[in-house]
Symmetry: C2
Subunit: 334 residues, 2 copies
């Protein structure tokens, strides 16, 4: 069996990242990673009349761009693995409905890019496919309407609240060729620290990141120093510090090269985002632009990408149920 330890697969023939694309909204285009994205929309509508349709249009654009960059038509994809935050994952379903590609719908909350990359890599290494897409998206306005309030309500946000990224990311994996490789994946277990504050997702997700990263290090025998960059998905400022603290109690330092996509995508001093970015599109758009770009440029050679998701719904929150978390880690090596 290829599984190493309890949660990790080390690939014998690591799948290659043949292309990636990142498409974002207006606010993300004003942030520090502006120049890394493939397309920045001048508004958040993407030519559509509803926020939900806008999210699908953004993901369709991202998917098409990624195929173009890989110089292949969608019909050459063996599978798509995709999901998003919208109820019944409509963002992805409508984005891929005319693609004609065999489709696996996922729900991993904001960890979806890690889940889709893991399953896409397994499909290739398992010998079931040669070319697979992993994709996800989130949209600030569709998320606000669904999880919190209609924008027009103008609800006050708490300091620990994060700003859902309007962004999409997609990756095409191939069985061979040039590019960075996915060397290992660590699949998360669901963790629950009893957090019930839906405005403090970082606290709910940090224990999941701790559990998955710890399992990754234990399963592989690697230490944080093995990687040039360890980047969680969207823990934000508070969750980032929580995770460092959890490792500190173990006597482990994640080191200077640990950061979080939610801290990278916005300028927190100039942009009104409180604790940072969040949403499936946060880690996806940062990974598919800044991080993979940095590997291509030689800035990093070994990256551990660990997007995190908060498993909750407005209904579960109203019923007083605690917010569980999950984190899927993906090791990418030049």
């Amino acid at each position: 069996m290829k599984k190493t330890g309890k949660q990790t697969i080390i690939f014998s023939a690591p799948p290659v990242i043949a292309a990636s694309a990142a498409v974002v909204g207006e606010k993300e285009g004003q942030g520090p990673l502006s120049k890394c994205f493939d397309f920045v929309s001048p508004d958040d509508y993407f030519g559509e009349k509803s926020w939900e349709k806008a999210e699908s249009a953004m993901l369709t654009r991202c998917f098409t761009l990624c195929c173009d960059k890989a110089k292949l038509s969608p019909s050459m994809l063996d599978y798509v693995f995709a999901g998003d935050l919208l109820n019944q994952c409509m963002g992805s379903a409508y984005a891929f409905k005319d693609s004609g590609v065999p489709y696996f719908g996922l729900y991993g909350a904001c960890s979806t890019m890690g889940e889709s990359l893991s399953l896409a890599a397994m499909a290739i290494d398992g010998g079931f496919a040669e070319t697979v897409m992993a994709a996800t998206s989130s949209h600030f306005c569709s998320s606000e309407r669904q999880f919190r309030f209609p924008l027009e309500y103008g609800g006050q946000r708490t300091p620990s609240a994060q700003w859902t990224v309007t962004g999409a990311g997609s990756v095409i994996l191939k069985s061979c060729g040039e590019g960075a490789k996915i060397s290992a994946v660590t699949t998360g277990v669901i963790t629950d620290a009893g957090i019930t504050d839906a405005n403090n997702m970082g606290a709910a997700m940090a224990p999941a990141a701790y559990a998955t990263l710890s399992a990754h290090f234990a399963d592989t025998g690697r230490t944080p120093a093995y990687y040039d960059l360890i980047v969680t998905g969207d823990l934000g400022a508070f969750g980032h510090d929580n995770l460092e603290e959890l490792f500190r109690r173990d006597g482990t330092s994640l080191g200077e090269h640990y950061t979080d996509c939610g801290l990278l995508i916005y300028d927190r001093t100039a942009q009104d985002v409180h604790a940072g970015g969040s949403g499936c599109g946060c880690s996806a758009s940062v990974f598919c632009s800044y991080i993979l770009g940095g590997i291509a440029d030689g800035r990093w050679k070994k990256v551990l990408f660990a997007p995190t998701g908060a498993l909750m719904s407005p209904t579960s929150t109203q019923q007083g149920v605690s917010i569980s978390g999950i984190c899927h880690a993906v090791a990418v090596e030049a």
Copy 2:
């Protein structure tokens, strides 16, 4: 590559169904398959105070029963693949949150049992796992509240409306041992026939079943006669007839041995279910009890199980977007 044709995998070492379990609610326990289920709840609460928590409790019970039947502890599972209809797939997330098993969350609407079985089988045949669970659930009351109206509203139902099954199903696949085997899976593409009536899911899903079954026959060179039983997920009376008509136009008959889980689970003359059963739990509970039981008893040797899903949300319906469908087919052989 193990993929045959555009959408199908024929497994070289077919994964074995080591155990299955089905847990249902009161109404399902009054139907014709009553004696097939592992547990019938005397009410629809499963000891909980909300419908959503009841759904999770039902799935937890199903999962535990399945592990007991396979004589293994949850810690021996390499992965769980699960999802459900609730917003943010909370039914599954809370059911598995204390399991400690690496978790892949899925969203395939009512096709989820087909999607989870496909990915679980791929995880085993790909060499990533030895023991994997595939599971899903639906609950009439949580679905009505979410997709239609609160029960107290007493909304009038149309003749084409289906009754969401309160039920859960789970399967444990192993790399070797005694039991029926998954010989092939055909992964669906998203289809859209332009249906916008959320009370006519059968019409929205029949084209997806037609597309996937056609692909399965084309990819494998098999005909409907290869199978003793072809069973779709939850097309109900209208969708069942639509699918037969779509094949008839091709000059193909699905034969006497074609049926639908939505027609099997209730007695439509005695139980007030209109066009039949629906929901992830419909195909899952029928497959994990009546169908796998029938294979074990020697009633059928070759079964093609093809659960269907309608990819829609109340928001997309309100925005006038058409309802897409997807269908994942799984071939099970004694």
